[in-house]
Amino acid sequence: MIDLLSYGAFFLSVALTYAIISLGLNVQWGQTGLFNVGIAGFVAVGAYVSALMTTPAATDHLGGFGLPIAAGWLGAAVATGFVTFLVGALTIRLRSDYLAIATFGAAVAIHLCILNLQSVTGGPFGIGFIPRAFAGLADRPVAFSLANLALLAAVVLALYLALEHLARSPWGRVLRAIREDEPAALALGKSAVRFRLQAFALGGAIMGLAGATQAHFIGYIAPDNYQPILTFQVWAMLIVGGSGNNRGAILGALVVWGIWALSASAVASLFPAEQQARAASLQIVMIGLALCAILLWRPRGILGEARILSRHVLRPPSPAAPAPTTTSET
């Protein structure tokens, strides 16, 4: 029973760190229509910045500033927001799938950097001894996991409330207006590029924060955690939950992470130990198939209640589209 409680808290905590990334992606894709395929790279930036700021002094890589965890989280969000802003400033004017290719490239480049700049990032060995919140409770596993869960839940809740507020604010309405009918928004004097860039950087900052929370939850990071598979998982989460919908982003993270964890234990019990690596690839096949199936049969996701988005998803934007609705309904 205690084990189950402990495992449940652990499972939910991991799912909530994904929910944070998914909320960040919802700002970029769900609200603004920016196709970011470099999620893994931005999450990595956040994780590394926070790790370097908070770990004790080390000899094999830069850092060891020993700052408090909260400073690491804040630094991660600011730094990743800045990196995302730079990437966006270069690429935000591109056609949607060129932006996808460019962000995919950015993630590859970031991965290469953390792998090869060994004096800064520890290279392939990663960074260990990342301080964990509530370390004082470490000898009482249940209290420790529950405290962590409560902290992450509070972060997700605060983000959710803030993002809901933003989506309903004039700023959020401008984003949707630009996404729905750019010429009309331009005619009203809104700079599409500037608003897109703001949304892109904000989403990136949230992804960086998510990276930091993951790093401090697990206590160890390495370049291999930030492969394209992470990007795919988060996309699956947002699409399953319903993009353009903050509750959908959180629900999708819980559902997809649940399927992932269940399938992991299923393949673990079905395959012998020496076949585990193989079985893991079967799990990825499943996520890929699920993503395709959802796009085919339920492109709006479980909570696809954002009417504006579904119209956008189902048909390509045309200059003859009706005037943008700017009512808040996310």
């Binding site: 229509g33 196709f35 395929v37 270069l90 690429t91 591109l94 949607s96 799938d97 060129y98 996808a100 290719i101 460019a102 995919f104 490239g105 950015a106 590859v108 480049a109 290469l112 792998l115 090869n116 394209p228 598979i229 795919f232 996309w235 699409i239 690596a277 193989r278 079985a279 690839s281 079967l282 799990q283 990825i284 096949v285 996520i287 890929g288 198939l289 699920a290 993503l291 395709c292 796009l295 085919l296 492109p299 956008h312 998803v313 189902l314 048909r315 390509p316 934007p317």
Partner: protein, 303 residues
């Protein structure tokens, strides 16, 4: 920097160019960036590997090496069958996934995302079947022969370059001189109008997949012959492929090939000047530069 960089770059660039032709054709006619194209390269390589070993098993051995090359008769035979199978795979993916989305009038971005899902599935399936351990077509060791000007190349590399040249010329002639080529260009200009004018758009789309996947299979086999075969090879080549397709100008077959050679040369120079670990960054730098400076590429028409 030694002159050998040129040879290495050209050989790597020929593979990138062949793969990029598929991307450029899909993009100009189906109007989306196919992230699953790299997977056609890896599937082509593995299909040919399986066929070649199957043939070798039936014939009691892979046969003695053909002339100066490192492989026996099973590989060319398997390559022909592999091209057919890879094209078939692309047609199946289109029929199951892209076709229904297209008929529904889905946004470009949904197609791109679906191609992601397809890439993930196809790549992991390869990893499941063949594991992630690298494999080779042959374990024969080839000696590079001097070609003059300080350049050296193995017979396999020369063959790959020659084959790539022949294929690009053939596809270019096909696009510019035949009825199906004219239909393809018409559909890429305006699909509705082409349909009204009596062009069988579905046939054109099938042709695009067959050409793109067939060339990808050849590129994958070349890469397998000259380097190695891994399930990740398509993913690793994806960025160079996109860089070449965009640099060459979307829709241009010769452009994709020339841009492929440029990307290959740039990668080879980076390996020499900066270090092999930064090779993968080259394609990204070229990509961003070309998107910023000349988004329609070297040979592209304005959109």
């Amino acid at each position: 920097m030694t002159p050998q960089v040129v040879m290495d770059g050209l050989v790597a660039g020929a593979m990138i160019g062949l793969g990029a032709i598929g991307i450029t054709l899909t993009y100009s006619i189906l109007r989306f960036s196919n992230f699953a194209h790299g997977e056609f390269l890896s599937w082509g390589a593995y299909l040919v590997l399986a066929l070649a070993s199957g043939l070798g098993f039936l014939a009691g051995g892979p046969g003695s090496p053909l002339g100066p090359f490192s492989f026996g008769w099973t590989l060319p035979v398997a390559l022909v069958a592999g091209i057919v199978l890879t094209a078939g795979l692309a047609l199946v993916v289109d029929a199951l996934l892209f076709g229904p989305l297209r008929h529904r009038g889905s946004a470009v971005i949904i197609l791109v995302m679906a191609s992601f899902g397809a890439a993930l599935t196809l790549r992991s399936l390869l990893e499941f079947v063949f594991t992630s351990k690298p494999v080779y077509f042959t374990d024969a060791l080839q000696i590079a022969r001097p070609l003059g000007f300080g350049l050296r190349a193995t017979p396999d590399q020369m063959l790959a370059l020659g084959l790539a040249t022949v294929l690009v010329v053939a596809i270019h002639l096909l696009m510019t001189r035949t009825a199906i080529g004219r239909s393809m260009r018409a559909v890429s200009e305006n699909r509705q109008l082409a349909g009204i004018a009596g062009i069988d758009v579905r046939m054109v789309i099938r042709t695009v997949w067959i050409f793109g996947a067939g060339l990808a299979c050849v590129a994958g086999v070349m890469s397998g012959l000259l380097v190695q075969i891994r399930p990740q090879m398509g993913l690793d080549l994806l960025l160079p492929l996109f860089a070449a397709a965009i640099l060459g100008g979307i829709g241009s077959v010769p452009g994709a090939m020339i841009a492929g050679l440029i990307v290959g040369l740039a990668e080879a120079m980076t390996v020499q000047l900066i270090g092999a670990e930064w090779r993968a960054a080259v394609a990204f730098v070229i990509l961003v530069a070309i998107l910023l400076l000349r988004p329609r590429g070297l040979f592209g028409r304005p959109e």
